[in-house]
Symmetry: C2
DNA sequence: ATAATATGCAACCAGGAGGTTGCCCTATGG
DNA sequence: CCATAGGGCAACCTCCTGGTTGCATATTAT
């Protein structure tokens, strides 16, 4: 019923996790998750970083489809895309499930846990 | 009711995501999520990597508490800890929630989405 | 037309990440 | 007691990452 862990490509997941493994990119993600499309210049405001740095981060997020950009005149607008995050959540659920199966299995042994 | 996004420390979350942003560490995580404690030597088996490399990865996972180690004789056994992953799931849920609020808000405008 | 705005591209740089090797220390099994 | 198995520590190397700067290009506003 639930897709097995083995059916997930680990490298793809790792790439998404890695994209989220940066404070700057997380904050960009938060700013975009409110649904407002924002230009690079807008996203750079209040960021202490250069526009180029922000651009690089956005491209990284874009490569794993957490974000996607469309050109509008002279500016390129970035928008949030929740799909990859949902994918990660499902992945984490599978790990949890695997873990919980173990717990119930252990419970049947009625072991004393001397942790 | 649900904790706001602003109450989460972004750098802490970024560190956890970063810890998961590596294929080797993801596979270690999978191997440990079955509940069996495993030594470094065991985890190194079939890994193509050196024991030292595996150790480094384990330490990274340990620093964010995804894994924890206990010394048992001459070997140190690593065990999985699901808490940080649950934390991440909650975090991702908050982002999704933020996103969905926007969707319903947009829906009230009855806009034509020409994406 | 011109100036200003928004971005792209490329080179460059410092530091960190992933990985290896060598050596030392501590348990454990004969 | 000695050989061996399991690890820790530290040095070292290479490559990627995050960031910057400089310059070129395309829109937009005046």
């Amino acid at each position: 019923m639930s897709p097995r862990l083995s059916s997930h490509k680990p490298q793809a997941k790792a790439q998404i996790f890695a994209a989220l493994g940066d404070e700057t990119r997380l904050s960009l993600l938060i700013r975009l998750s409110d649904g407002q499309r924002q230009s690079i210049a807008q996203l750079t405001e209040g960021s202490k970083l250069t526009r180029q740095a922000v651009t690089k981060h956005l491209r990284i997020l874009e490569r794993v489809r957490i974000v996607h950009s469309t050109r509008a005149g002279r500016e390129s607008l970035f928008a949030f895309n929740p799909e990859p995050l949902d994918e990660l959540k499902r992945y984490l659920d599978l790990v949890s499930e695997r873990w919980n199966q173990t717990l119930s299995r252990l419970k049947s042994f009625v072991e004393i846990n001397d942790e």
